[in-house]
Symmetry: D2
């Protein structure tokens, strides 16, 4: 993902790539490792990098361990972090939020940068105010181990915050084959399809008398993440606190 972010920054006229962090290529330039046209130096040490280059924004797509250190170090050096990891603890998020506000620097941490997926969840939550009947179908390739997907569970949780509690389906409905009605979460049903050929897809169906509303996201590859990173880079310049989750930026 780091390589795709480098490419996105280089391809965006309003952005300028001033330096990169990488464990293996310290001392080289991006031009040396195949990004022709870039003389941006590569560092292995975050503090050293941030001291020598007063950048506006850090894009970090590493692991929670590195991500936490990088985020903290960046804020201490006056650089706004845009971070794409999921594993931060509540304590870490609280600490980084305080640091962000003390420094008056924006900081965005997002588990999912695919704008389409985040809009799907956001719209589903909005629709749940008017439609109390909803089912989620998520469809993935057959190499996926867990069912339902994390996105499906997150969507159901977001809907649940808004939706009037309701046990859906006919009160006397019967499964003649166990599992037919899918997984149940607060009266909502979730179905997981697994087939070779599929990539990552989800549709949320709302039903009411005489009408249905469907919101569907199809993800074909990782390129979809970069448009979300770009929106975050633009947004992080205008805020002075930590925002968690892309859904709190999109409006």
């Amino acid at each position: 993902m780091g390589l795709e972010a480098v490419k996105m920054v280089m391809d965006t006229p309003e952005f300028e790539l001033v330096a990169a962090l990488d464990r293996k290529h310290g001392g080289e330039t991006l031009g040396d490792i195949g990004f022709s046209g870039s003389q941006a130096p590569i560092y292995t040490d975050a503090a050293e990098c941030f001291s020598e280059h007063q950048a506006d924004v850090l894009i970090d797509l590493t692991t929670p361990e590195f991500g936490y250190v990088h985020t903290k170090t960046a804020l201490e050096h006056g650089i706004r972090p845009v971070v794409g990891t999921t594993g931060f603890t509540e304590d870490q998020l609280l600490e980084l939020k305080e640091l962000s506000e003390e420094k008056e620097l924006g900081c965005i941490i997002a588990p999912n940068f695919a704008i389409g997926a985040v809009l799907m969840m956001k719209f589903s939550q909005m629709a749940a105010k008017y439609f109390s009947d909803v089912e989620i179908i998520e469809l993935h390739h057959d190499k996926k181990l867990d069912a339902p997907s994390g996105t499906a569970v997150k969507t159901a949780q977001m809907i649940n915050e808004i939706r009037e509690p309701k046990k859906q389906g006919h009160p006397d409905e019967q499964e003649t084959m166990p599992g037919a009605r899918g997984a149940e979460m607060n009266g909502m049903h979730i179905h997981s399809v697994r087939l070779p050929g599929l990539i990552a897809h989800q549709q949320v169906l709302f039903g009411a008398d005489g009408e249905t509303l469907t919101i569907r996201h199809d993800s074909y590859n990782r390129a979809s993440f970069m448009s979300g990173v770009k929106v975050c880079v633009e947004t992080v310049m205008k805020t002075k606190t930590l925002v968690y989750g892309l859904e709190n930026i999109l409006d």
Copy 2:
């Protein structure tokens, strides 16, 4: 359904309505009960009706009990039956088949007259020869009591006759919420969605490396049955045996 069949016959230029069977309106004409322009008489007794009118075809959309008697009586009177019921026993079907062949008269008995639904099942069976991975999603209104639907089970059975046996999904897949992966039948998965607003819908998804094939049927109302009845009336004139199931007529 009987009323819709009367309407269909009257609206089809190649067909002629010569008489009708009805428990309540014996002695009247179709014109008397609202079908303006028709003088066709209504009978309560099948044998009497078939003796007085040497029709080519009987359309019967009653119950299995009446249907069996009407079918047998029609064949004995030289009339070809087109029957839309599900509950005939094996013995009854065998007896009617022998009678049909003895009389050299066609006879068609079909549990489902919606051509689109039958084609969906037929195409699914054909596709299963080339795609061993398949999942079925059926979607119905939330007044439906049983899950999965009879059509979904029938589709799975037809696929099963052709498909190479296979336990689908990742061998180590885990349901973190029970039921997420739906009902399982011979390694295939079936998912049942129930929402207000929906009517009767089914999609069959096939997946293979790099591609998916989807066959979907949407049923909005009973009008869809009449085109199947019409095809059967045309076909029953050309055959001299009993055929069970619309899928064995469509080619």
Copy 3:
């Protein structure tokens, strides 16, 4: 539609039906014309009705001509109008807005009460901020005379208010058969499908690198309108101005 509204009001425990307007049944009660259990009187004259019954809300689902008079008369009698017609002139809307604010009474006028359809348009407008590539496919029964549908045009207009102007598709794309790429409106493409069996459906597709987002509405019958009317009745009690369009109420 008026009959369906009467039914909805009677079925909603928080609502009370106090009177009705109808040209043909003046002097009778709703009980007389088939709504068993209701003694609400029917009037032919709006002013008389509004003088005798100090209702909170008027539901008007008539024509623009009657609708305008009813709306004005209701406001003058201290009753909040919820009106479902499209043909009001700019001048009429302005006049009614002034009257509404002078009286400090809410007034809602909505061309489309199907909440799902309005949410589809609203979400499409929101998504257009992040996706500049969008195509609209609307699908209707083959009795429909005009293409594209009014809803498709309205959706495109709402998207257009937000979307960065863009000529979509490949700059050198060629239609080898004229019309293949659909109708064009500000660089967006609209496609109209007409088939027997279909009722009223629309899907809005957004695309970006590696992902697509689809928002779809299926309308099966008029029952879908009543949930929108209900939301308006609840909302009109809390506002003191005229609101035009359901999309400005839903949040």
Copy 4:
């Protein structure tokens, strides 16, 4: 595509790779150019290759020029060709068919090896016998230059061979925006959607009173071609003539 075919043959237990043709790597083995575990030699000359290795089948995924020569040479050496090109002339096809039958060797030439796409076309043709109303929507990435796609046109042609001629839509329908109703071919309508993110998709919609039937194919990448090549290799062993088009093999 050639590399993917090599991989497919090596991965299929019933197949054995005995030699390969390639302009650049003559004299090397497949092991030398990265296919570890294979000692199959690479030739630049087809006749030499076919003389030294009495293979059962040739898989040819080159251009029409090379393809024609390879096909002819293979048949002359007693090898059955499976060829994936589109540009053969009528005369060439006739000549190859005669040669194939003279030698009593199967030969399969197919413009499209994606089984899902071919089944979509085949099922559409079958459905057209019962549904005279049909529209085609094809959806591709926005780098595609031509509209409609070749597959859409081929599908329409196949439907046209079977479908009762019919001018679809309302006889008095009006386009308020030109192109809304898509391209027309013998009364059928074809719609071309172009969006970034999309890959290659097509859906064929059939409509009749009260029901619709949809057949959809989604192609995500070239891997989908190899299952079709595999079916052809198996089939070419059992036939003694030239077959053109995968649709004439699948049943």
